[in-house]
C-alpha cells in the first residue's frame, strides 16, 4: 500500500507511505486513481512515512493534487510539503533560468496550413537539391584545379599515398572480387546452358560467358563491390578526419586537403579498379571453363578455341576502358560526401550511406550510357 485514505467529516486524510519511485509508478497511478475525490472539501496529506520520493513520484502526486484542486478540494500538508513538489512547481512555472535560442518569426501568407507546409517542403527540397548540385560542381572544379597544381611536381602527386590506396582498394579487394567473378560466370553459364540445350546449341554458352564477363559483368560487379568497400571507406575516413578537425589542421599547416587526401584516393582507385577488372575477367573465364567441362562436357581446349572465336579485338577493351571511369565516379562520390561531413557523427553515417548508394547508382547509370554509346558506334 502506498496510499492510505481515511475519511473524516471535513474530507480526506491521505497518508503517503513506502517508496514513491519511477519504477513503481504504475502502482502509484493505480492507487491514486482509486481515491474518490467527490465530497472531499479538505485533503490533508501526511508524508511522514514516505521512505522515498523521486521526481516521477512527485510529479504523479502533483497531478493528483491538481485534480483534487479542480474538484474543489483544499489541500493541506501535515508539516511542510516535500521539496520535490516545490521543484516541480517552480520549474513548470518557469521560474528557473531558461536557455533560449532566438526563433525565426514565421511569415503570414494567408494560406491553409497544410498547403503552406507542402509548398515549404517542396521549396526546401528544391533549394537543398540545387545547393547540392552547385556544391558538387564546385567540388569537381576544385578537384581539377588541384590536379593542375599537383601535376607540376612528382612529390605533390604524393606517390606514397597513391601506393597505399592502390593496396587498400585494390590488393585487399582481390579475393572477394575473384570469388564474385567466379560465381557470376557460373550463374551465366548455368542459366544459358539450360536454355541453349533445348536447341542443341550448348557451345554458345561459351560465347555468352566470355562476352558477358568481358564486356559487362566483370567490370560492373567489380565496380559495385569496390563502391561498397572503397566508396564507403573514402566517405567514412574523410568524414571522421573532418569531425576530428584533422582536415582543418592540415589546412592550418598549409597543406591542401584535396591534394593530400582526395587526389591520392582518386588516383589509387583509378589504377586499382582496372587491375581488379582484369583479375575478374580471368577468373570469370576460368569459372566458365570449369562449368563447361563438368556440366556440358566441353573440354578445356575446345572451350579456349571457342573463346578465341567469340571475342572480337575490342571485347576486352570495351570492358576495361569503363573501369577508370567507374573508379572516378566511385572515388568522387565517396570523397565528396566525406568532405561534406560536419558537426556530428550522425552526419558521418548518413553521408557514408549516401556515398555508397550514389556511387553504385552512378556506376550503373554510366554503364547504361556506355551500352548505348557502344551500340551507336557499333563495337
Amino acid at each position: 500500500m502506498l496510499v492510505e485514505v481515511r475519511r473524516t467529516e471535513q474530507g480526506l486524510d491521505v497518508d503517503l507511505t513506502g517508496d514513491w519511485r519511477a519504477l513503481g509508478l504504475a502502482q502509484i497511478d493505480a492507487e491514486l486513481s482509486g481515491v474518490d475525490l467527490t465530497t472531499a472539501h479538505r485533503i490533508t496529506l501526511d508524508t511522514k512515512s514516505l521512505t522515498a520520493l523521486d521526481l516521477s513520484g512527485a510529479w504523479r502526486l502533483h497531478e493528483f493534487l491538481n485534480q483534487a484542486r479542480a474538484a474543489g478540494a483544499e489541500i493541506q500538508f501535515k508539516g511542510s510539503p516535500p521539496d520535490q513538489l516545490r521543484l516541480i512547481d517552480s520549474t513548470l512555472r518557469g521560474e528557473r533560468p531558461v536557455c533560449v535560442e532566438p526563433k525565426p518569426v514565421p511569415h503570414e501568407h494567408g494560406l491553409a496550413p497544410l498547403t503552406e507546409a507542402g509548398l515549404a517542403e517542396i521549396g526546401l527540397f528544391s533549394v537543398r537539391e540545387g545547393r547540392d548540385l552547385m556544391a558538387a560542381l564546385a567540388f569537381l572544379g576544385r578537384i581539377f584545379s588541384t590536379l593542375g597544381r599537383a601535376l607540376t611536381s612528382f612529390k605533390r602527386l604524393r606517390p606514397i599515398s597513391i601506393a597505399r590506396h592502390i593496396y587498400d582498394t585494390g590488393i585487399t579487394a582481390m579475393p572477394i572480387t575473384a570469388l564474385i567473378a567466379f560465381l557470376i560466370s557460373v550463374i551465366i553459364a548455368y542459366m544459358s546452358a539450360q536454355q541453349l540445350r533445348r536447341f542443341g546449341a550448348e557451345i554458345f554458352v561459351v560465347d555468352l560467358v566470355t562476352i558477358g564477363v568481358l564486356r559487362e559483368m566483370g567490370v560492373l560487379l567489380t565496380s559495385i563491390i569496390v563502391a561498397g568497400r572503397s566508396g564507403s571507406a573514402f566517405a567514412a575516413e574523410l568524414g571522421s578526419m573532418k569531425l576530428n578537425e584533422e582536415v582543418d589542421a592540415l589546412v592550418a599547416i598549409g597543406v591542401d586537403p584535396y591534394e593530400a587526401l582526395v587526389l591520392p584516393r582518386l588516383f589509387g582507385l583509378m589504377i586499382a579498379l582496372p587491375l581488379l577488372t582484369i583479375v575478374a575477367d580471368i577468373i570469370g573465364i576460368m569459372g566458365g571453363a570449369l562449368l563447361c567441362r563438368y556440366l556440358l562436357d566441353i573440354p578445356i581446349t575446345q572451350y579456349l578455341t571457342r573463346v578465341n572465336e567469340a571475342i572480337t579485338p575490342t571485347t576486352f577493351w570495351v570492358g576495361l576502358m569503363k573501369a577508370p571511369v567507374f573508379a572516378m565516379l566511385i572515388g568522387m562520390a565517396g570523397a565528396y560526401r566525406g568532405m561534406q561531413v560536419r558537426d556530428s557523427s550522425r552526419e558521418l553515417g548518413r553521408l557514408t550511406t549516401v556515398a555508397v548508394v550514389q556511387s553504385i547508382f552512378l556506376v550503373i547509370l554510366a554503364d547504361a550510357l556506355f551500352a548505348v554509346l557502344f551500340m551507336e558506334i557499333g563495337i
Partner: protein, 263 residues
C-alpha cells in the same frame, strides 16, 4: 616600422542573418601571452578560424606580421602558415600517423631535410613537449588526453614558429595536468620567445599565463591587461571574473603581490 605580430581590424563574420562579429578589433604584441575569452557561442572559434585562414570573413583585415591574409591566394597563405603553429581543441592529430610522423608532417611540407635531421628534430620537439621518447612510435588513439595535447603542441612547434595559437589547451584536463600544461607553455614561451594566442575558458589558466586578455562581448572585443580587464564594468566580464572561482584567484593574486617575497 614594427608591426604587431597579429592585428585584426573591423572583422565582420555573418552566418545567414546571425551576426557573430561586428567590427572586432584586436592586436597581439610580440612576446606576450594573449588570452581570448568569451561565452559559448560568441565566436571564439570563428575568430580563430578566420585568423588561420580556414574561413574568409565577410569584412575586415587580418594582418599576421604586417601581411593581410584575407586577400591572399592559397600559395601565399602557405608561406604565412609556415610561420605559426596551431593546436586544436581535440588535438586534431592525424589518426593514421604516429606521433613522430605527425610532428614530421609540417617539416615534410615546408622544409628540405634529410631523414636523419627530420627524425632528430622531431624527437627534440616531442621531448620538449614533455612526452617520453617511447610515445613517438604510438598512434594518437593510444595516447591519454594530456599526452594528445602535448603531441599536438609538439606538432605546432615543428617549424619553430614565433607565433603559437592554442585552442582551449587545458580543456578536458584535470586541474593538476592543466597546471602542468600551463607551466609548460609558459616555459616554452620564455625559452623560445614565443608569442602565444590562446582561447580558453579556464580562469586558473588565464591567471597563470596571460599578460593581456581580450573578451568577446556584444560582437566585439574588450582588450586590456589582466589587472585592467577584471575592473571592466561590462556585466558579462564582471560575472565572469568575479564569480566564486574568479574572486578566489584575484584574492590570491593580490595577497601574493603585497607579500615581501612576491614579485
Amino acid at each position: 616600422m614594427i608591426y604587431p605580430v597579429l592585428e585584426v581590424q573591423g572583422l565582420v563574420n555573418r552566418f545567414g542573418s546571425q551576426i557573430v562579429h561586428n567590427g572586432l578589433n584586436m592586436e597581439v604584441r610580440e612576446d606576450e601571452v594573449f588570452g581570448i575569452v568569451g561565452g559559448s557561442g560568441t565566436g571564439k572559434s570563428v575568430l580563430l578560424r578566420s585568423i588561420l585562414g580556414l574561413q574568409r570573413p565577410n569584412a575586415g583585415v587580418i594582418r599576421i606580421e604586417g601581411q593581410d591574409i584575407t586577400k591572399m591566394s592559397f600559395s601565399q597563405l602557405r608561406i604565412v602558415k609556415a610561420r605559426y603553429g596551431v593546436t586544436f581543441q581535440q588535438g586534431a592529430l592525424f589518426s593514421a600517423l604516429t606521433v613522430l610522423q605527425n610532428v614530421q608532417l609540417p617539416m615534410l611540407e615546408h622544409l628540405h631535410l634529410s631523414v636523419h635531421e627530420r627524425d632528430e628534430l622531431a624527437m627534440l620537439k616531442i621531448r620538449l613537449s614533455g612526452l617520453p621518447a617511447d610515445a613517438a612510435g604510438k598512434f594518437p588513439a593510444q595516447l591519454s588526453g594530456g599526452m594528445i595535447k602535448r603531441a599536438a603542441l609538439a606538432r605546432a612547434l615543428a617549424l619553430d614558429p614565433r607565433l603559437l595559437f592554442l585552442d582551449e589547451p587545458t580543456s578536458g584536463l584535470d586541474p593538476i595536468s592543466a597546471a602542468e600544461f600551463d607551466d609548460l607553455i609558459l616555459y616554452l614561451q620564455k625559452q623560445l620567445r614565443l608569442t602565444v594566442v590562446m582561447i580558453t575558458h579556464d580562469l586558473d589558466s588565464i591567471f597563470r599565463t596571460c599578460n593581456r586578455v581580450g573578451v568577446i562581448v556584444d560582437r566585439h572585443m574588450e582588450i586590456d591587461t589582466l589587472e585592467g580587464i577584471v575592473r571592466n564594468p561590462h556585466p558579462w566580464i564582471q560575472s565572469y571574473f568575479h564569480g566564486e572561482r574568479g574572486n578566489a584567484r584575484l584574492q590570491e593574486r593580490s595577497t601574493a603581490s603585497v607579500s615581501p617575497h612576491g614579485t
